[in-house]
Structure formats: structure tokens, C-alpha cells
Symmetry: C2
Subunit: 347 residues, 2 copies
């Protein structure tokens, strides 16, 4: 077992026969070092292959090339792993630009803000990448007030929080694409099962269905909608009501787990119903459910570019910019055509 | 918008009416500072609430309090998210001990080693946490040869790589518990569907079933086993063969996705078959499949303690230690009793 031989400030100093402080000055403040001494130190640095450490470089440049990213606790959740997939893309995109991602733990907004404060005091981060934006998000206000560079994956859902850079996936475009896809298959009785009103993401996804139904001249009034939380068993109950009430031939759903509830309710009632979900989760893959895939790697790459622009190391100025990316429709077995015998138009 | 007021080395120096170097000496080499000057600088530090930055502390202590962790690229996978759940636990455990996790990107062993080298040269990490250990793993050899502190989540699968600290989940104990559970329900015709021979994790999980079957005096010869890769559609084909060949009343499976293949094959053939999976994934939850949950948060906590011991900041010495944690049996709807009419013993 051989030890790693690292070239240090001390070994450069010994080689150049100067003090440690002189080597440090040669790197960080060369104008205070005598020219012949500077030349000798630089020769030693080159000869030994010395690389100033990140910490030394950071003290010099005042940039750590590190961005902070919060992870919640280990949870058991079937609700997709968009955040986990995003952080893979973020680590990759950052590395390509010489940046690293430092993780910290936070299980809610307040804990995340406490960590922002601690990390900014002690860890010299250059900025933050946030996920899971929501109405009345105190995190973006906190960072904006302190002029800390950051970007959010997820748009601001209140107008007064809308001044920072963000990247998001266009949920409305996704459900609009799903609705048009079902219409092209021959469906006209297309219902929607979504989350309760008031969530930014949920309301956005519902709007894609309702606006497309209006464009197509199809019925999308309250009777054609139900709401549920994201638990499949609750979605199944809500779907059962919706199926009995209007007898849709297809249901556009706010998520894959909600879509699974519709599939189960349809099976219980012996109905053939086309279903689309959202997120391209393992659940949708296993269930053979048509769904919408978020372009996660691309979102991460663009988020990184936006925060680097805030920091000032990416051209294009520090003005906040936004990117809204369309999801991709993934067609699977639940994209069935309507039964020709029951295919009446409207309700 | 107000700017964040940070107390710096410079502002302490100005307040104490000394040079920046003197403040630095007061923090890092107090014995070279005159006592009355030292007292004045320490008073200014206290009054202004100055916190030496992480970079400054790091130059002083030679410890960054940062651990490296590799993430692969964004992939679409239904094969569970154990690694993603582990990193949540790791971030939490590290934070509780004043450590942070720095992510880097690597899509294979060679890329991970390139990053080890780069991070050790430039980023001053204290150590690494590795996942996905496998036969002939070059990463652990590379780190061991360089005396770099690290821990693996996943045991070394070759004897010659067995000298480093690791934490793992006891796969054999898990499948043994599943086999005993099925036996307690009345099953005696218990088959096994696993991965091809040669993978450490797969062979370990198979051994728990075969040794328990032997203890119970039940048949576990080659006819009662099939192998498949982890794709549900391939598992379904292998399961169909296994069900026709020996007509088991229960199948212990190496993973949830393989278990789903058994459920689908049983349904196609109109058979009632109890099924157990492994990993407590979203797929198992949705399918109502009995499975084995890995204690991820606990594994992360113990992995952190072991790497801190290697670094020398945790009591207990730097000798490598290992922790093998049992998974927990999660009983769901696929834990059916055998059909009394076809419940013959053995084959």
C-alpha cells in the first residue's frame, strides 16, 4: 500500500527555498514578491506539478464553484422521483462546467432557509438550485432579498415572486398534447381527474385539458372533472364517481399514480377507458400507461446555465431568464380507441 | 433589496486596526501574535460575529468536512431507486455531523476513478462514499492503494477486496425471511426466480431461499429455480416456464420487477401463486406485492459513521468495520395461502 504523494504549499516552499507565505503570495499577490523570487517559486510550482487546492483558489477568487441543493429525508413515496432524476442531471451539467453540487438536508422551507444561512456564512457557496416551488414560497424571497444567485426548477406561482430565473416543464402543454392525442384516436368524451384546485402544478395541468377541449368544441364543464389527492386508492374512488357520472371513453390524469386509480376503477366497473398519466414513472411503465415524460436532463442543463449567468460566469448578463420546456408524450397500451358502439359525441 | 452584510477577514482587521495577515495569524497561528494584539483581534471577532469561512478553516485544519458521492446520468429505470434513497439519508446523516456531501457525475467505474483523482487534487475532500459494489471493483482498490478514507454501501464481493469498511443489507436474511413467511402461510412448493449466477447481490439473495428450504426439508433443486434479467417482460417468460414445470404455490423473487413478471405469468395461466419481491419499490406498492424493505436511512447513518472513523474524527479507531443490516418483510396482498385442494407436499 503506497501513500498518495501530494504536492503541498510546504513542499513548493522547501523546493524554492522560500517561506510558505512567499509561495502563497506568489500565487495570490504576485506583485508583492520580488521578480527573481517569483520566477523561482513559479519554476518550483511547474516542476513539482503543484495545483493550488480548491480552498486556496477560493480564498483568491472568492468563488467556490460549488452550488447548494437541498434533499429531503428518506421517504417512502410512489409519487415519482422527478427531483431525484433532476439532481443526477444537475451533477452532470455542473461537472461539465467545472462546478460541483453540495447537498444539504432540509425537510421543509424553513429548514431550507436555515441551511441557506448557514451555508452562506460558512461554506462559501456560489449559489443555489431549488426545486418544488409552490404558492407563497418563502425561499425565493429570502434569497432574492440577499442578492444570492439562484435558479428554481419549477416556476414561481405568484406574480410577486416572479423576478428570479427559473426552468420549468410546461404541464399545460403536456395535458393539451394528451387531450389532442386522445381526440385523434377518436375520443370525444374525455374527462379529467386532477388534484384539488390551488396547487400551481395541478391547476396548470388541468388548464391544458380544459383549453384544448374548448378548442375542439368538446364538453369540459364541472361534471367532466373530479379531484383527488395523489394516492392511487383515493384516485380510484374519485374515478369511480367520474366514470359513473359521465361515462367518459378517456380520462386525462394529472399524474401516473392518479392514472392508475382510473385504470383500477375502470377494471372494477368493466369499462374500456383510455387513460393518460403524467411523469413517465416506473408505475406508468409497469402499467403500460400512456404518459408525459419531463425532459429532466435538459431542464437541469438549462437551470445550470441560468444560475451561472446569475453568478456572472456565463455570458448573457445577469437579468433573470425563464425556460418553459414541453414534455414528451409517451404512447403505451392505455391509448385505446373508443368502443365504436358507445361512441356518441358530447354528453 | 438589501445586500447581505458579511463579516470578512478585512472587516475584522479594520475593526481591530491590524493587518489582514495578523487576523489570519490570530486564527491559525495564535502563538505568533503578541498577546495584547491577539486579545484585541479576538474581541473584534466576537464583537462583529465573524465566522472564519469553510475555506479558511480548511486551510487551517486540513479537513474540508466534505465527502464525495458519485451519481450516474439521468436514466429511465424501473429498477428501484435504492441509490437515490440512500443519498437522501446520507445528506441528512452528514449534516447532523457537520459534514456535507459533494456530488460528482460518473457513469462507470473508470469515470468515477478519474473524478476521485481530480477531486483529491483540487477539491480537498475528506473521503468518499461509494455504492453499487460488484465483482472486480477497481474503485475500492484504487482508493485503498492511496490511503483515501472511504466506505461502501454494498459489501466487497471478492475476498481480496475485503479490507475496507462497508455497510450492506443482508439479502440472504431477507429471502430467508420471505421463505419462512410463505412456509408459515402453509406453502411447501416454494420456487425461486432470480438473476443469472455470478452477481454478488443475486447469488446472496438466492442463497437465503435455498438454505431455508434445506432447513425446512423442502425441495430446492435446479428444477425449482429459474433465472432472468431484471426486465419484467423477461421475468414473465421465465416465470411461465417455472410455473408450468413444477407448479409452485409460491415464488420468492430476487426483486420487485421480477416479482411483477411472476404475477403477470400466474394471471396469464390462471394460477393462484403467492409472490414475494425485494426492495419495497413503488412497483411493489402499486402491485400489492409482499416485499423486503432495505433500511436505507439506517444504512446511510452507519456508512457515515464508518467513513468518519476512517478520517479519524469518530472514536473507535480507523480499523475497517462492517455492518450487515437485515431488511424488513412488508406483507401485502400477494401473501396468499396455498389452495387447499392442490396443496401436496414436495414434488
Amino acid at each position: 500500500m503506497r501513500s498518495r504523494q501530494r504536492v503541498t504549499l510546504e513542499s513548493v516552499a522547501a523546493h524554492a527555498k522560500v517561506s510558505r507565505q512567499t509561495v502563497s503570495n506568489a500565487i495570490n499577490a504576485p506583485d508583492v514578491v520580488k521578480p527573481e523570487t517569483l520566477a523561482r517559486v513559479l519554476d518550483s510550482i511547474a516542476e513539482l506539478g503543484y495545483q493550488p487546492s480548491r480552498a486556496a483558489r477560493q480564498l483568491r477568487t472568492r468563488r467556490s464553484q460549488i452550488l447548494g441543493y437541498a434533499l429531503g429525508p428518506v421517504t417512502y413515496s410512489v409519487y415519482g422521483t422527478i427531483g431525484d432524476r433532476f439532481v443526477h442531471g444537475l451533477a452532470q451539467a455542473a461537472q461539465e462546467r467545472g462546478y460541483r453540487i453540495m447537498l444539504f438536508a432540509a425537510s421543509n422551507d424553513d429548514e431550507e432557509i436555515v441551511q441557506f444561512d448557514e451555508l452562506l456564512s460558512g461554506a462559501d457557496l456560489d449559489g443555489f438550485v431549488l426545486t418544488n416551488t409552490h404558492h407563497d414560497d418563502p425561499r425565493t424571497t429570502w434569497l432574492t432579498e440577499r442578492d444570492v444567485p439562484f435558479v428554481t426548477f419549477g416556476r414561481p406561482w405568484d406574480a410577486e415572486h416572479g423576478t428570479h430565473p427559473w426552468v420549468d416543464v410546461d404541464g399545460a402543454a403536456g395535458t393539451a398534447a394528451a387531450t389532442r392525442h386522445l381526440h385523434e384516436l377518436g375520443h370525444t368524451r374525455i374527462a379529467y381527474l386532477g388534484w384539488p384546485h390551488g396547487s400551481g402544478v395541478g391547476d396548470d395541468r388541468r388548464s391544458g385539458w380544459s383549453s384544448t377541449m374548448a378548442e375542439l368544441g368538446l364538453n369540459a364543464d364541472e361534471r367532466w372533472q373530479e379531484t383527488t389527492d395523489n394516492a392511487t386508492e383515493h384516485a380510484e374512488v374519485a374515478a369511480a364517481r367520474l366514470l359513473r357520472r359521465v361515462g367518459p371513453s378517456a380520462v386525462v390524469c394529472v399524474s401516473d399514480t392518479v392514472g392508475l386509480g382510473v385504470m383500477q376503477a375502470a377494471e372494477s366497473q368493466g369499462r374500456r377507458v383510455a387513460v393518460t398519466g403524467f411523469d413517465d414513472s416506473a408505475v406508468s411503465y409497469v402499467a403500460g400507461m400512456t404518459t408525459l415524460a419531463q425532459p429532466i436532463a435538459e431542464a437541469a442543463r438549462r437551470a445550470l446555465a441560468l444560475v451561472l449567468r446569475q453568478i456572472g460566469v456565463e455570458p448573457g448578463g445577469t437579468a433573470a431568464r425563464n425556460e418553459l420546456l414541453p414534455p414528451e408524450l409517451i404512447v403505451r397500451r392505455t391509448s385505446i380507441r373508443p368502443d365504436p358502439l358507445s361512441g356518441t359525441v358530447g354528453s
